[in-house]
Amino acid sequence: MKKYLSIFSITLQEVFTYRLNMVMWRVRQIFVFLIPFFIWRAVLGGGGDIYGYSFAAIMTYLFGTTILRSLVMGSRTIDLGWMINTGALTIPLMRPFNIFKFFFIRDLADKLFNLSFMFIELPLIYFVFHPPIFLQTNAFYLLCAMSSILCAIFIFFYINVIFGSLAFWTRDIWAPRFLLMVIMEFATGAMFPLDMLPEMWQKIMLLTPFPYLLYVPLKIYLGQNISLIPQFIWVIFLGLITKIIWQKGLSRYEAEGR
């Protein structure tokens, strides 16, 4: 257990070393929130609704995705591809701990870092812009939401490991990563609530794991009756694929570059 605490601590130290980087990253998160805020305010500020979302509802959604991003999508496993390509993976592989636990702990450190900043920034934004938001009080929904978030964390972790593992087969990992990022930006529901789209589109999107990262957990929090089962299935399914790909990839690993 102690070794995992050390890993956690060192990851945080790494983050703190790059001060400017840290500051920039946080400022960027503020922008991610601001632009949609302005758009929605312009469209809905005066009242009315779009596809059933009033200004208050959409604001809650926006706040929700902003917090969930830090919680679900804060990750350092994105480095995996680079680690494989440069041979940097060798060192943690040779250490006496489970490599997946290693990556996961690092992710947790990243999430903690991001969340702690959120607790400063969000109240700030709230006081400046006074967006109306909705707080869930029903215990059942809260519980479901938390399980959903936990599933989302795992799903994202597995997606990152799978994509990082591509590096076992090809040197060029930035292009597929870029494509993934672009698709996720949209498909996770980060840009706008997915139920603003036509039914057909929604059905198609729900066949991919992406909406389960932000959109579904948030909807559950907001009190919508959505089943947790598809998420569980995705967790198990992706977990299996990750294991298989990882084993296959590892056998190809040549530790080049060191």
Binding site: Y18, L20, N21, M24, W25, V27, R28, F31, V32, L34, I35, F38, I39, R41, A42, V43, I50, Y51, T170, R171, D172, W174, A175, P176, F178, L179, V182, I183, E185, F186, M191, F192, M196, L197
Partner: protein, 267 residues
């Protein structure tokens, strides 16, 4: 003399771009295609969001949907051209870390030239055509005439915007030289820039003022659009020319100061 130097830069840039292409042919072609697809997908989702919102709202801060589409198309065009030419900034950190930047400094041509322009991806240049086509389509779709004076003004704005964007990139490079932090800085810049993809009036009086006079991102889309709609006085552009020159001088000054503390990688 100045013309000769300009010709040298152009020749070298063409050669670098051609060699970049040759280098790509030697490696993976698939990557370039994935990138292009990714960029088009991103553009597609932006338009999708616009449709979704404006599908219900008739006007957005006084602009109709076709007008808002034109603004998005203009932003996309200008922003992407700038990114396409100044792609070097995304490799900058690597170049400083592996020592290539030292070679840039000692090369007779400006190190800023290499840091910004030496990595133009020829595949990206292909995208200019669909993006331009999109602008032309959106222009016609907006119902405003495609007359010579409008086109001229838009071109002037694009040139001014390009100079401004270059200045900001130079400032980002300066930050990068001092703190070795480029990637988040450039992404932060892109986030700021993205604000101009929609009509800036959305940001309220203060927001618009900041985006017009302090960080004139409004030049990327809203201002040329307003010129097209006949809502803008072209004489104001002179003020922006002066602002662009000021920013350029400022950025070059900041760059020379940043280099003073450059410590170079150890051997």
């Amino acid at each position: 003399m100045k013309l000769k130097v300009a010709k040298t830069y152009l020749r070298v840039w063409l050669k670098l771009t051609a060699q970049q292409f040759q280098s790509q042919v030697a490696n993976a072609r698939g990557a370039a295609l994935l990138f292009i697809f990714g960029k088009l997908f991103r553009l597609g989702t932006a338009f999708l969001m616009l449709y979704v919102i404006m599908g219900r709202a008739k006007l957005i801060v006084g602009y109709t949907m076709p007008q808002a589409i034109l603004i998005l198309a203009l932003f996309n065009f200008v922003s992407n051209i700038a990114q396409l030419f100044m792609r070097g900034i995304y490799m900058f950190r690597q170049k400083v870390v592996d020592g290539t930047f030292d070679f840039y400094l000692l090369n007779p041509l400006s190190e800023l030239f290499y840091s910004l322009f030496s990595a133009t991806d020829p595949m990206d240049t292909l995208l200019i055509f669909p993006y331009l086509g999109l602008v032309v389509w959106a222009w016609i779709n907006s119902g405003f005439p495609l007359i010579f004076s409008s086109v001229l003004f838009v071109l002037i704005v694009v040139v001014i915007a390009f100079v401004l964007i270059m200045s900001w990139h130079i400032i980002i490079l300066s930050v990068g030289i001092k703190y070795l932090e480029v990637d988040n800085t450039i992404m932060l810049y892109r986030d700021l820039e993205k604000m101009a993809a929609i009509p800036i009036e959305i940001y309220g009086k203060t927001g618009s003022a900041i985006l017009t006079y302090l960080f004139p991102f409004a030049l990327l889309a809203t201002i040329p659009a307003r010129l097209i709609f006949g809502l803008y006085n072209p004489w104001f552009l002179l003020g922006f020319v002066a602002l662009a020159i000021l920013y350029l001088k400022l950025s070059l000054f900041i760059w020379s100061r940043a280099l003073l503390s450059y410590s170079s990688t150890s051997s």
